[in-house]
Amino acid sequence: SVPAASETTDLSHLINKLLAAGNADHKYVEFDFLINGQFLRVPLVTHIEMENISTEEVVEIEYVEKYMAPQPEECIFHDDWISSVQATEEWILTGCYDQTARIWSLEGKSIMTVAGHTEVVKDVAWVKQDSLSCLLLSASMDQTVLLWEWNVEKNKVKALHCCRGHAGSVDSIAVDCTRTKFCSGSWDKMLKIWSAVPTDEEDEMEEAANRPRKKQKTEQLGLTRTPLATLSGHTEAVSSVLWSDAEEICSASWDHTIKLWDAETGDVKSTLTGNKVFNSVSYSPLCRRLASGSTDRHIRLWDPRSKDGSLVLLSLTSHTGWVTSVKWSPTHEHQLISGSLDNIVKLWDTRSCKAPLYDLAAHEDKVLCVDWTEAGLLLSGGADNKLYCYRYPATASDVGA
């Protein structure tokens, strides 16, 4: 038994003492404690009171090694606001308000500038990566999505396809797990599914009657591509899309709903209704939860399998502005990061919903995008033209009870 007034540091000392007794060459480790899957953040007795845990029974306290703070690594300067970021093991791809997408190495070296859009680039995505060439996508406010091929060795970039069809700014794109299709969500309330496989043929575009074909050709960059399918159902702009499954698309919209679509048939499978505009949505296959950021201070967690469609599992509240982007950890089922208009990126653990694990307050202006790579790199870009990288050692070892 431990004293009721003890806090995490006291408990941590206790565990360390016990471990040191058993193992002579034990080093001091900071621990965090979980009671019924909730992090202990206050003295034990207060926590027990808050959670209504019976004091008559034995309370099991689980201890895990404390997550280390993310270490800042790089700060990459851009020429304009950063609208989107996606990183792989080797490269970072960012979309920028100066109408370009940029490729950076992890060390922060500028490798390539992908220019071709006539408007702000709103979202970027990697499609395929080889040692020789990579395929990447950029969506822009000029209503097109461009599919680029980047030759790594020659460091040349070439627009393969120009995906036309949206009648508004394309705000979000997502590539499916087979890397052959992608989906785009636009301000024109539509979701469109496209093929991501480069071909040599040009899709037939229905002629705009009053526009000479020649002019259209000359304007174009790459071969025109038309959508495989169009999913309509939202009544307001679509702000975020993702593939939650091989055949399932999830989209968040300004009409206060998150819709789950069947990518094959194009039907709405279920609708989750909130009461605020959704800015961003993220899905974790590990815990099978959706996290949404909306135009209030809360990050809400949803169960996409729930049938009634309006069930908020949990809301994480600590931001003071709109939550512009959320991203689940690809390796840890409980952790996610969020960026907000209050200039702060927060690292959350769903087991501690009252307070985030860490606040990353480096940005001087609105945070617009965040990303989390499998290698444990946290990225955030914002309206201060800076992309911050953090190394986050996701240690989840030494779990005892």
Binding site: V120, A167, W187, N210, E236, K366, A383
Partner: protein, 644 residues
């Protein structure tokens, strides 16, 4: 307690000798044998009875008249002791013993002279409980043998009780019964006035100053004493002078006691007392019952975004019909186009002067913004949003064919030159004087502009597709503040300083004249349903008109502390907002019901702060997002703020 005396105390119960025998009876020779009968029976007879021998006893002769009687009374010394024997009728002279006896009896004394009623009493038995009984008689057998007769009686009773022939006695009800004498009395009758009894006013309880030894602060100083003495007795606050005494014993009699009692009595019976019927209303009840603001969600509550970039007052705002773009005009001679959701300035359009008003074309298929700059209205294609749309808009404007004959029109329509065209300006409508407001008709072809002029050329209506302007009014009805098109019907609202005139555009006549009750109207907005109008005024009032109801305001809201600059309605949500010089935006819930009998429900729900007061100006324009419950406000501090 002392032991009860075994024998009754016999001290006072001395047996007296019987005192009944009349001393005269045995002495008298009993001759009359009639017995104890009323002697009146013999009144009419000469005899009075019979003697022992049966002979009549004759009444003695009584022939004395009154005079004789009197003389005898005067002369006979034994007259006072002579009585008549009723039985025989003879006069008997009482002896001295007999007279003495009569005297004693009259005094209530015993007849016997020698009887002493106060002899010392002799107890037969002592009152003390002795160890030996008085008698040695053994106790009766029956005292310890149960009685057979009683047993029989008891068994009979028990049997009767068992059989239910005898009911146990009902317990006696001890509670006293009362009767309400006035239960049936009519309270309105004369007797009912007792119910209206007004108790006499109570006298003030004595305070510290009335104490014989008051605290020093209650004692009067010399000046106060002087002032007290000089005051009229009726005007004095205290009708006595507080005084200090060493102890209660030293306090003298109060000289005004009788006087004061008398005055009190006068007060009590001369002062008419009647019940004043005071209206007893809980002030809470007077406040109208309004729903709680949190039940009226959604409405904007917090500041979400700040659109920074302007360097001077931002006078006007307009939002694209899709809600993606925001345009703001400022005193720094620029018009800026913003992306709503990120506060990104997408475009900056420098113009030649201060921008007084901007208006985005409400038609979603046309991408055109009207901007008031000095003496002209610029029609600008911002080239934002759908490429097809803004391309089509340009084509629409280019497809204009000038009419054959030149029509005389008050304004000049000029196509923008190349330099202006590259910036987005497509058409310029040149006015004679400075333009202060521009507003579109809902269809997006017509727009109206207001010129700050005092003539009849204040309001102009323009048609974009025909590049044609007209002046609808022949004469000026006052300084026009702002104009507005009805969203559905062909009505046109013109707000002058104190009135709002409603014109029917089809019939070309004045339909209504609304009295605003304000000194100077600053702004006006119309409910999307078209039946309600709000007017903001520079004397910090907001008037809500129900056009079906009356030409006077349905409600006048005075929430702002300073002049109102702008008012706005939301397109879908039941919300309206007002921006004021005090730097706040007040959002109100304004529910309009389809039921004509139900009046609109107006509830202020939120005060939004954020703008910094600059040059004594706060919020200059407010505007709702077309689809979300968000409100934009532009301020004198050069920022545009979005509240969500």
């Amino acid at each position: 307690p002392p032991p009860a005396p075994r024998a009754a105390s016999a001290r006072n119960s001395v047996p007296c000798p019987p005192l009944t025998p009349l001393p005269s009876a045995p002495l008298q020779d009993i001759r009359n044998t009639v017995g104890n009968i009323p002697m009146e029976w013999y009144q009419d007879f000469p005899h009075i009875g019979y003697n022992l021998d049966g002979k009549k006893i004759y009444k003695p002769i009584r022939n004395k008249d009154e005079l004789d009687m009197f003389l005898e009374k005067m002369e006979n010394p034994d007259y006072w002791r002579t009585v008549q024997d009723k039985m025989t009728g003879a006069d008997i002279k009482l002896t001295d013993e007999q007279v003495d006896l009569v005297h004693r009896l009259q005094k209530g004394q015993f007849g016997d002279v020698h009887f002493d009623p106060y002899e010392p009493a002799v107890d037969f038995f002592t009152h003390e409980v002795m160890i030996h009984p008085v008698t040695n008689r053994p106790a009766d057998k029956r005292s310890f043998i149960p009685s057979l007769i009683e047993k029989e009686k008891v068994s009979k009773l028990v049997h009767a009780i068992k059989m239910g022939w005898i009911k146990p006695r009902k317990p006696k009800d001890d509670t006293p019964t009362y009767y309400d004498l006035w239960a049936h009395e009519d309270p309105n009758s004369i007797l009912g006035r007792h119910k209206m009894h007004v108790p006499a006013p109570k006298m003030k309880l004595p305070g510290h100053e009335e104490s014989y030894n008051p605290p020093p602060e209650y004692l009067l100083s010399e000046e106060e004493k002087l002032a007290w003495e000089q005051q009229e007795p009726a005007e004095r606050k205290l009708n006595f002078m507080p005084q200090q005494y060493r102890c209660l014993r030293a306090v003298p009699a109060y000289s005004r006691f009788i006087h004061e009692r008398f005055e009190r009595c006068l007060d009590l019976y001369l002062c008419p007392r009647q019940r004043k019927m005071r209206v007893n209303v809980d002030p809470e009840d007077l406040i109208p019952k309004l729903p709680k603001p949190r039940d009226l969600q959604p409405f904007p509550t917090t500041q979400a975004l700040v659109y920074r970039g302007h360097t001077s007052l931002v006078r006007c705002l307009s939002v694209s019909p899709s809600g993606q773009w925001l345009v703001s005009g400022s005193d720094d001679c620029t018009v800026r186009f913003w992306e709503v959701c990120t506060a990104r300035c997408m475009k900056t359009l420098p113009v030649s002067g201060v921008v007084k008003s901007v208006a985005w074309n409400p038609n979603p298929t046309i991408c055109l913004v009207a901007i008031c700059v000095e003496q002209s209205v610029l029609l600008v294609n911002p080239c934002l949003g759908d490429k097809l749309l803004y391309g089509a808009t340009d084509q629409l404007l280019e497809s204009y064919v000038a009419p054959e004959e030149e029509r005389v029109q008050p304004m000049q329509w000029v196509t923008a030159n190349m330099e202006e065209h590259s910036k987005g300006v497509r058409l310029v409508v040149q006015h004679s004087k400075a333009v202060k407001q521009v507003t579109w008709h809902g269809k997006g072809d017509y727009f109206a502009s207001v010129v700050s002029d005092n003539s009849n050329m204040q309001v102009l209506i323009h048609q974009t597709s025909k590049r044609w302007s007209q002046n609808p009014f022949r004469k000026s009805k006052g300084l026009v503040q702002c104009v507005l098109f009805h969203p559905i019907r062909p009505y046109f609202f013109v707000a002058t300083q104190r009135y709002v005139r409603v014109y029917n555009l089809l019939k070309q006549e004045l339909t209504k004249k609304l009295m605003t009750n304000c000194k100077w109207v600053s702004s006006m907005a119309i409910h999307p349903g078209g039946d309600n109008i709000i007017c903001g005024s520079y004397d910090s009032k907001l008037a809500w008109f129900d056009l079906d109801l009356s030409t006077r305001p349905y409600q006048l809201l005075r929430h702002h502390k300073k002049a109102l600059r702008s008012v706005a309605f939301h397109k879908h949500y039941p919300l309206f907002a007002s921006g004021s010089d005090d730097g706040t935006v007040i959002v109100c819930h304004g529910m309009v019901y389809n039921d004509l009998l139900q009046n609109p429900l107006l509830v202020p729900v939120k005060v939004l702060k954020g703008h910094v007061l600059t040059l004594d100006l706060g919020v200059l324009d407010v505007l709702f997002h077309p689809t979300q419950p968000w409100v934009f406000s532009s301020g004198a501090d050069g920022t545009v703020r979005l509240y969500t």
